[in-house]
C-alpha cells in the first residue's frame, strides 16, 4: 500500500480534506474517494471531456490532473453549480432544448460551458462549438447543446444586468 497524502482543497465551496495516493488522478479522487460521481470517466486520456471540472477558474480534464495537485485549490464539479433546490441556467436550458439524451456526457458539457461563460459571457456560435470541441457526445449531434449554451448565455446576461 503506497503512502497516502493528505490533501486540503475547497470543493464546491466546502473545505474538504482527503487522503489520496500519489498516482491517483483527481477524477479517481472525486469519484472513488469523495463519491462525487457526477463527474464521469469516458476515456481517461484527455480526449472526451466527460471528466471536466473547474480548478481555480481553469477548465481541466480531471483525469489528467493528479489528486495531490488539488492541494489548496478551489474545484467546481457538476454537483456544485446549482443553487439550492434549483438548477443552474445551463442545466435548465439543457433540459428545455433536450440537449441531453443518455446524459453521460452532460456534466462535462455543462461544466465546460460554465467555464466558457465565466470568461466570455457572450460567445458566438463558433466560439461555443470551438470551446466544446474537447467534449465528445455520441447521442445528440451537438446542435441542441450549442443552442442550449447560447440560450443560457442570454438568460445569464439578463440576470446579471438585473
Amino acid at each position: 500500500m503506497a503512502n497516502k497524502t493528505a490533501v486540503q482543497a475547497t470543493i464546491n465551496g466546502e473545505d474538504v480534506e482527503f487522503l489520496c495516493e500519489p498516482h491517483q488522478s483527481l477524477l479517481e479522487v472525486l469519484r472513488d474517494v469523495l463519491r462525487l460521481t457526477g463527474t464521469k470517466e469516458g476515456c481517461n486520456n484527455g480526449n472526451c471531456g466527460a471528466c471536466n471540472v473547474i480548478l481555480d477558474g481553469v477548465l481541466v480534464n480531471s483525469c489528467l490532473v493528479l489528486g495531490v495537485e488539488a492541494q489548496g485549490k478551489r474545484i467546481t464539479t457538476i454537483e456544485g453549480i446549482a443553487p439550492p433546490h434549483g438548477l443552474h441556467p445551463l442545466q435548465q436550458k439543457f433540459l428545455e432544448h433536450a440537449a441531453l439524451q443518455c446524459g453521460i456526457c452532460t456534466p462535462g458539457f455543462i461544466i465546460s460551458a460554465k467555464a466558457l461563460l465565466d470568461h466570455k459571457p457572450h460567445p458566438s456560435e463558433h466560439e461555443v462549438r470551438h470551446w466544446l470541441a474537447g467534449n465528445l457526445c455520441r447521442c445528440t449531434g451537438y446542435d441542441k447543446i450549442v443552442r442550449a449554451v447560447l440560450d443560457a448565455a442570454d438568460v445569464m446576461a439578463v440576470e446579471v444586468s438585473k
Partner: protein, 795 residues
Amino acid sequence: MLRHTTNWVTKPANRVDGPDKANGAAKYAGDYRVPGQLVTRALRSPIPHARITRLDTSAALKVPGVLAVITSDDFVDHGRFGFPVADNFILAYQKVRYVGEGVAIVAAVDADAAEAGVNAIELDLEQLPVIEDMEQALRPDAPVIPDVVTEGSKKGQPNVCLTQIVRNGDPEPIIAASPVQLDQTYATPFQEHAYLEPEAVLSIPNPDGSVIIYACDQSPFNNRGIAAAVLGLPEDKVRVIQAIVGGSFGGKDEGVYQMSAQTAKLALLTNRPVGMVFSREESIIVSYKRDASKIRVRLGADKDGKLQAAKVEAWLDGGAYSAETVLTAWRAAMHLAGAYTYQAVTGDVHVLYTNNNYSSAFRGFGNTEAVACIEQAIDEVAEQVALDPIDMRLKNIIGKGDRTMTGATLNQEVGLRACLEWVRQKSDWDRKRREFPAQNKNARYRKGIGVACYFHGMGLGGEGVDFANATIAIERDNSVTLTNGLTDYGTGARTVFTLIAADVLGARPERIKVLLTDTETAINSGPTVASRASVVGGNATRVAAEKIAQLLTFAAANLFKCAPAQVLRDKEAFIGPDEEPVDFDTVVNHARQLGYVLSAHGRWQLPVIHWDFEKGTGTPYVGYTFGAQIVEVTVHTGTGRVQADRIWAAHDIGKVLFPEGAYGQLYGGITQGLGYGLMEEVEINHGYIHNVNFDDYIIPTAMDVPPIEATFVEAPFHLGPYGAKNVAEPSMLGVAPALANAVYHATGKRIRELPLTPERVLLGHALHNDDHGDNSRLWLGYADGLRKVRITQAA
C-alpha cells in the same frame, strides 16, 4: 369509445430523466458502490487465434486479497451462449478466437490484488493460423474458426456461418438484356459504437442463493435468460435491473451479458458484491463492432434510367463469433437493392468468420451497410443515363401499392417522394448541381453536393415475434407508475411512454413515473432493438392506460349519474352533463370507493407476418420508414480532406410523439452517419485493433458537425400509437452515401470504400498502420512482462 386527445403527446416536453442527468445525480452502473464490493481484472488473449492447452488458476487463488477466479469451467456447458447460433462463450473455452477475448476473471478486494491475481494465472496458448480478412476465410485450406457446424460446412466453406437470401424473380436475363448495366463492388468499415459510457455491471448476491445484476445492458430479459442458463439457476433466481445507460446504439448486448454472467458467478462464489467497469481501451478492444462489408451490386436499367433488375451479393465480416450478425445479414438482405421497384431482385448476404474481434448489432443493423452501397450504385447508373440523381430516384422509388425489392406489396402511406422533394428544394439542389462542376478544375477547394434516400423496415419483422408488455398502476397518492419491458438506453423511450400514458389517462406527465426496467417488476417483452420501443412499447402502454382510463370514465359517470359516453375530458378534468368539471383526484378516489382495481397490464403485438428463410420469399416487415438526405461538401484537393458544409434531412417517421426527442435522435444519427462516412474505421491489422481510444478512433466533435436542416414528413402509420413510426436507426442511413456522392460530384473520383479519409480521396486507397498489436497488448496488461502466458507454435 375513448377519444384520443393529444394534450401532451406531440407537444413540447421535457425528458423525464432530464433533471438528474443535468445535475449529476443520475447513477450509471459504474457509479454504484456498495459495502464490501469487490473489483475484477481479466486475463485476456494477447493473440488472435490459439488453442488453450493449459489453464491453471490455482496460484492466483493464493494471492492475498484474491477471493475468486473463474474460467469457462465455472459455467454450465462451459458458458456456451448465443442466439441464433450458439457459438460464443462467457469465457473462452478450448480456443481463443480474437485479441482481448476473456479467458479468466479474478475478483479481489482491490485493483492491485486483482492484477497480481491475473499475473499468477498460468495460461499456455498454441498459436493457430490467423484469418485476417474475408478472402482468407473463404480459402479451402483456411483454419476453421467456429466450433459449431455451419451452413457453409456442407459446401466446404465452414467459415461461412450462413447466407441470408432474397428471391424475387430471376434478375440475370433481365440485367443481361438491359441497355444500361452496372457491376461494382463497394466496401464499408468496422465501426465502433463509441457510447461515451464504457461498459459497467454490478452483481449482488442474495442470502437465498439468488443474484441481482445491475447492468448497462440493452435488453435485461435477454441478459437474465443467458445468465440463468450459464449459472444453472432458474430464471427467477436472477434479477436484472437496468441502470441508466450511457448510450448503446446496439452495442450493449452480448458483451454486457458476458460481464453480467461473470460478475454474477463471482458474486455467488464469494458471497460479496462484484463490480466490473471497463476502461475505454478495454471497451474498444473487447466489445463487438459494426461488421465490415463488401457488397457487389449488379443493376440493369433501361436507357431512360428506369431500373429493371438487381442482383446483389454481400459478405459481412462477422469476426470470431456470429452474435447478431446472423440477423444483421437478414436485414441487410431485405434492403440490399434500396427503396426502388424492380422486375426482379436477388440478394445473398454471407456471414463470415474471421479473427477480427466480432461483429453484432449497431444502429441500422445491416441496412446502414446496404444503403451506403446501393445509394452510390444508383448515382453511378444515373450518370450513365445522364439523369439528375434526384430525378433518377423519383423515377424509381416505391410508393403505396408497389412491390418492394423483396416482392412484397407496400400497403402503407409513403412519404419518400415528399422527403426527396423537400431536401431538393431546401438545399437549392438544382442550381448547385449545375454550378459546382463549373468550378476551376485546379482549384484548391472544390464543392460538391450529393443525395441518398432509403427505406427501413420497422421492428423485428421476420427476425421474431414483435410484442411488448406494459403495466400501469395508480398509487395511493394518485401518482402513476409505469413499467415497460422495452427499455430506454438514452433514446427517450421513457418520456414517450410517459406522454402516451398522460394523454390516454388524462393525467399530467408530472404524476407519472416510469420505472427503470427490472426483470422482477416489468414483464418480458423480448429485446429492445430495431427502434421498436415507440411503436410496440408505446402501444402496450396505450393498451394498459386505456383499461384504467375506461375505469375512470365509469367512475366519473357514476359520480355524475350519467352514461359513460356522456363524460367528457379536458386535460385532467372530467366533465359531466351539468358541465361542472371534477378533477382527476376526485374521480380516482371515487373509483377506489367503488372498489375498482386501478392497475392494469397491456400487451401489444405487431401483426404476424411470414418470411420463408429457406426460399427467400415472403413479407419481411409490417411497414417501413423512409427518408432522404443531402450533404454539401468542400474537398481540399491538395490534402483530400472532406468537410461537410451542410446537411438537409427529411424523414417520414409517421406521427412525431416527442418532437424534441425525435430531433435529438435525428441529429445524433446524422452525426454517427457523418463519422461513418468521413472518419470512423476500427483499424484491425493482423487481428489487432490499432485505434483503442478517442485519440486514434476519431468521432465527430461539435466542430465537425455542420448546420443541419431537418424536417419530419408525417405520413401516418396505421399501426403506430397516434400513427407513429420509429426514428432512432433510420436517421443515420443516408449520410455516408450522400457524402460519397458529393465527393464524386466535387472531384470526379468515385471512392467506393468508406470512410472517405484524406488518403482515400487523394490516393484512392487507405494507408494502413502496420501495428502488430503493441497497443492492444499494452492495454491488456502485457506491457510489463508479468503475465504468465506462454505462447507456442503448433507442432
